[in-house]
Symmetry: C2
Subunit: 226 residues, 2 copies
Amino acid sequence: MRPLRWRVAAVAAAGLALALEALPWALRWLRARRRRPRREVLFFPSQVTCTEALLQAPGAGAAPAQPPAGCLCRLPHGESSLSRLLRALLAARASLELCLFAFSNPQLGRAVQLLHQRGVHVRVVTDCDYMALNGSQIGLLRKAGIQVRHDQDLGYMHHKFAIVDKKVLITGSLNWTTQAIQNNRENVLIMEDEEYVRLFLEEFERIWEEFNPTKYRFFPQKKRGH
Amino acid sequence: MRPLRWRVAAVAAAGLALALEALPWALRWLRARRRRPRREVLFFPSQVTCTEALLQAPGAGAAPAQPPAGCLCRLPHGESSLSRLLRALLAARASLELCLFAFSNPQLGRAVQLLHQRGVHVRVVTDCDYMALNGSQIGLLRKAGIQVRHDQDLGYMHHKFAIVDKKVLITGSLNWTTQAIQNNRENVLIMEDEEYVRLFLEEFERIWEEFNPTKYRFFPQKKRGH
């Protein structure tokens, strides 16, 4: 009897050894199968492309950028840094926080309105000097019913970041103006990163509270230089 | 003889099982002991503090920010977003790439000159409109022998990033001006991240080559708006 018992024990131990050896590999395989967090860098200026496909489709953002049926424009219909930025924004399903010094690009304005129409909770913080400039999207966003708050400080509200679904941070040097998108050297990071999102969301909430309209002193003082 | 052989085999298998079970934990422990890559977010405006300790010490950057002997200034001597930014820059030992729209803050200018004096290879790319403004550090850097190249485009060279020792990327919304540091809402990311460093370094090298003085057409056209 004893040899058999030992034989069983040995086989069991060997089996256990193999299983334990396989465990970390299996875990690693499972982890690798999970989607890699989004990490992207966009550089500007980038080629001007048609973005109608992204902005017209009812479920825009998920579909590849195909020219919409009947699009007669002569712009190229491929990817560009702007289309990638639009796609990252249009992925929002629940919330979008925007903290933007200047916001005048019509395509980005349409994307934000589209998200609002789809029920995404959009909040915008901006700079009080730049929001009143010609071509600013801020008035249109407010008209559409989107909450906007602005500073009344001597300094500029110079951030240029967005937080999508409290999961993805979009930040960089780019002001959301057509001039910057088409002519300037700019960078935008798109980062699915819990720690960075948390820190920027805390900054957004701080500013959001500080710029609460109940605290506005009309009218803000004139600002110093850039 | 057989039972003994089986007994030895069983003990060996059990030992192997234990060793294999311990292996991933040991690896994880070793990995955890390694230094975590640097990840920091700085928000501005921040408290104005004395940065002399950082800028006067011969091996500045590594030492904690203590007031230098004889510092009579009444500023607080603790940490601030500016002192953290200075520390991140002053950690450079081999190379520093700067790609800056506006650079007029004297403390940051002194830090860059200090690095150049210590033999760090400094290269600067900047915007041709802003480099000529009052208080710009660019002339002082050139006078100190640091290589500077600028755009001659219609658009702005609007990046605001630095790469330290080709290992750490410093990027955000902050122009390197005292006005921005002390008054604006700004963010700066400090990231020890191989992938981001590679992408931004490639962008730097592209711009560096494009702004080669042999390609300058004197004088650049007047720019459009911001």
